[in-house]
């Protein structure tokens, strides 16, 4: 790689067994037109610092493992290229708003717990309870298109790293989980809206959002969580007004 350009990359390190807090380490990394941030980290691990830890798997923006802060902005390392930072220095830090486990590895179990909490699966209506497994649910192309965009989430956590409300209040259910909640709510095969409403309509549900909009800005899969949350607010407010005039 003799003709490669060189980029100064500063990486946040944190070794729990010996460090009290994270520190920075800078490396000169050669790169060419196709070098991704993930490959730059491989290079650092292979040539300079074998102990550098980071999570990755598919290298094609499908698994959602390699979310990290690149120059302060949440990105998937595999989908971010050094050529787009040419002439600038690069800093790589662990995903914000999550506890740092080691180096660039964060603990996203809170995100996973919240996704589980909102019941992200089809809850059939009472009339479909005994429907045989061999029988399919009907869905028109439009009914599928209604939620398709919101179903593209890969749980990478970039939107949580971008969310000031989650930063300030860790009880907030957050962009990815609320988007998934809305996605199942509007699925015509699902009848779980009433069950999920306690999460959707709570203080820490859609009402914890102040429409900063950065989640949609950084989402690597263009899911647009901010849109799902605003639509969730409209749904929650509509339910509220209906209930005001129609007591049980």
């Amino acid at each position: 790689m003799a003709n490669d350009k060189i980029m100064k990359i500063t990486v946040t390190r944190y070794r729990p067994e010996q460090d009290a807090e994270p520190f920075q380490q800078t490396f000169d990394v050669p790169y060419h037109n196709e070098t991704s941030v993930l490959e730059a980290l491989f290079y650092i691990k292979d040539h300079f610092e074998p102990s550098l830890s980071f999570r990755w798997s598919c290298r094609m923006a499908v698994c959602g493992s390699c979310g990290m802060m690149v120059n302060g902005v949440p990105h998937l390392a595999c989908k971010t290229f050094l050529r787009d930072y040419e002439g600038k220095a690069m800093t790589i830090a662990p995903l914000e708003n999550f506890p740092i486990e080691r180096d660039l590895v964060v603990d996203i179990s809170d995100l996973i717990e919240k996704i589980e909490r909102i019941k992200p699966y089809i809850i059939p209506a009472a009339k479909d309870k005994n429907m045989p497994l061999t029988k399919e649910y009907r869905q028109t192309p439009q009914q599928m298109e209604a939620y398709r965009q919101f179903a593209q989430c890969i749980n990478c956590g970039c939107c949580y790293a971008a969310c000031p409300q989650y930063k300030i209040n860790k009880d907030y259910i957050g962009p990815a989980a609320l988007t998934l909640l809305y996605r199942y709510d509007i699925d015509n095969r699902d009848a779980g809206s009433a069950i999920r409403d306690e999460f959707l309509s709570s203080e820490n549900g859609v009402w914890g959002c102040t429409f900063v909009g950065y989640c949609s800005e950084v989402c690597p899969k263009h899911v647009d969580p901010a849109s799902a949350i605003q639509l969730g607010k409209v749904k929650s407010a509509t339910n509220y007004v209906i209930k005001m005039f129609k007591p049980e």
Binding site: I168, D171, S202, E203, A237, V241
Partner: protein, 123 residues
């Protein structure tokens, strides 16, 4: 875990309507106030003169629209300020809530009372 149903929708709807009022109607009203500020306004001459504003406040429809703008702007602004306190990592309490939403309610009540009073006198 808070799972109780939030009363936020009611304030959010007022906030949203207020955001529309501030974005769509308020710029023109501010322009009128700036123009009036540059003029020597008399009883029946100049921008926002006494008779002109009297005609607005004496017309039930125009007065209701003005009341709507004042009220919705108040709810919009107070709601947003209250939430921004939280954004600035200030620990918001019930007291903050009463101060800001109380202010919005007070502005609503004052505008309604004054405009109703003016309307009745002019009628």
């Amino acid at each position: 875990m808070h799972s109780n149903r939030s009363d936020e929708p009611i304030y959010w709807l007022l906030f949203g309507a207020g955001g529309m009022a501030v974005g769509v109607v308020l710029p023109a009203i501010v322009i009128l106030m700036i123009v009036a500020g540059f003029q020597d306004v008399g009883e029946a001459s100049g921008m926002l003169n006494f008779h002109q504003v009297g005609a607005v406040l004496g017309n039930w429809l125009l007065s209701a629209v003005l009341f709507g703008v004042i009220m919705l702007t108040a709810w919009h602004a107070c709601h947003r300020i209250y939430h921004t306190l939280h954004d600035l990592t200030i620990r918001v309490t019930k007291l903050h809530w009463f101060v800001f939403y109380g202010l919005a309610a007070a502005i609503t009540f004052a505008a309604a009372a004054l405009q109703f009073l003016i309307y009745c006198q002019l009628w």
